[in-house]
């Protein structure tokens, strides 16, 4: 049976292809995103409250290293097979080394709807995985130039809306605990999946608008946008098992690894590597990889996690 949120995504794609005048006002998109980010953060925070953060330090370190590794895998492919300019290759590598919160939300909703347990504190790992690829991307584009204003870069990253709301939500959930958040559950938890449906409707519209661009940049970017997440998901799966996640948690981490950023990284690249073409990286991330992960990837990564746990777990 189809989950209705997937149908909302398809509705958005079809409406976009059909050149419907449908669109979510950008302020509503902001509102919906805020609810999703805070909700994900708070759910994670509530779980964190139940365990010692110190125990999580190794997991966080491991995931951080994955975030450093992924762009190094992507860059040569983009630069030499794709013959992209250095700045573009570095920027796209950063997008794919980082994560998409929307993909995380869909993966989490998939687990919930199939009654599969997963570690909610993955929200914390989500934040950790968001950041290293940005740093690597800048270095790949510029070298270890003394001119890079790392302070400004770090501020750009941590002051971004996404990180503030996720981290803020994590801390609020962590301090408040399960009973504390009870009174704000109706907005942040009960409405979560409906908000995710609206979000996906708009993402479908956005994805369909990228198709014209994709045509222009040709086949390589499409192949990369499908192959790269598959490779990343395998690494994510391996890491998930290694750090002791459940099957569901492993699949969600694989989806995170497979996901490509479309908010934090483009914003950071625009500031730090402005000569990279944002149209190109967003076409790949929003036009290929996000739809692929939502429609095909997530169930696949779950099968992968099942198999891998049976073999190695």
């Amino acid at each position: 049976m189809f989950d209705p949120i997937i149908l909302f995504f398809l509705l958005g794609i079809f409406a976009g292809l059909f050149r419907s005048e449908l669109r979510l006002p950008s302020q509503i998109y902001d509102f919906v995103s805020m609810i999703l980010l805070l909700s994900i953060g708070m759910k994670g925070g509530v779980e964190l409250a139940k365990q010692s953060v110190v125990e999580l330090a190794p997991q966080m370190l491991a995931v951080f290293l994955l975030g450093l590794l992924l762009p190094f895998l992507a860059f040569p492919v983009l630069r030499f097979m794709g013959r992209l300019k250095r700045a573009d290759a570095a920027s796209i590598a950063a997008h794919y080394g980082s994560v998409s919160v929307g993909t995380f939300a869909v993966a989490a909703a998939f687990m919930v709807s199939q009654d599969i347990y997963f570690e909610e504190h993955l929200a914390l790992l989500l934040v950790v995985l968001e950041i290293p690829a940005i740093l690597v991307g800048i270095v790949l584009a510029r070298g270890l130039s003394k001119n890079t204003q790392w302070g400004k870069v770090m501020h750009e990253i941590f002051a971004g809306k996404g990180v503030v709301l996720l981290l803020g939500g994590l801390i609020i959930g962590w301090i408040s605990g399960p009973e504390g958040v009870e009174s704000i559950k109706p907005l942040f938890f009960d409405l979560f999946k409906g908000m995710l449906a609206l979000f996906l409707l708009e993402m479908g519209l956005i994805a369909s608008a990228k198709i014209a661009v994709l045509r222009q940049y040709g086949l390589f970017i499409i192949c990369f946008g499908i192959t790269m997440p598959l490779v990343s998901s395998v690494l994510g799966t391996a890491l998930g098992i290694w750090i002791g996640l459940s099957v569901g948690g492993t699949a969600v981490l694989a989806a995170l690894a497979a996901s490509a950023s479309y908010i934090a990284v483009p914003a950071a690249m625009r500031i730090s590597v402005p000569e990279a073409n944002p149209t190109l990286s967003l076409a790949a991330s929003l036009g290929v990889t996000f739809p692929f992960n939502v429609l095909i990837g997530i169930p696949l990564y779950y099968q992968l996690a099942l198999k891998a746990h049976a073999l190695l777990g």
């Binding site: 669109r23 950008s26 998109y29 902001d30 708009e202 519209l205 956005i206 608008a209 661009v213 479309y262 908010i263 483009p266 914003a267 625009r270 500031i271 402005p274 000569e275 944002p278 149209t279 967003l282």
Partner: protein
């Protein structure tokens, strides 16, 4: 009326650099600016403002000819190569010219 002439510089560019631009405009000696949201199409394709990332802004700066020239030179040097941006300017009559 006892008007005086100033230059109005209008910049249309990517929303994501709003804060940086505002700082730079002040730094170059303009005494104020006005910003509104916009969408549009140009050499760098369509910017539909459907989405935070995608929007344009329209910045107006009323200033002296010298500040205007400095501003245009600065923006041209720093942004024209990598950012969706157009600039145009013309003379306007202002009241309270001391403000500009």
């Amino acid at each position: 009326m006892s008007n005086e002439i100033r230059t109005l510089v209008t910049i249309i560019t990517e929303a994501s650099i709003e804060k940086t631009l505002a700082r730079e405009i002040e730094g170059l000696g303009a005494k104020g600016y006005t910003i509104s949201d916009a969408r549009g199409k140009g050499a760098r394709g369509s910017r539909s403002a459907e989405w935070d990332y995608d929007g344009n802004i329209r910045i107006e700066v009323v200033c002296s000819r010298e500040v205007g020239d400095k501003l245009e030179a600065h923006l041209q040097g720093k942004y024209f190569d990598n950012f969706a941006m157009i600039i145009y300017s013309h003379d306007v009559n202002v009241l309270r010219s001391v403000k500009f």
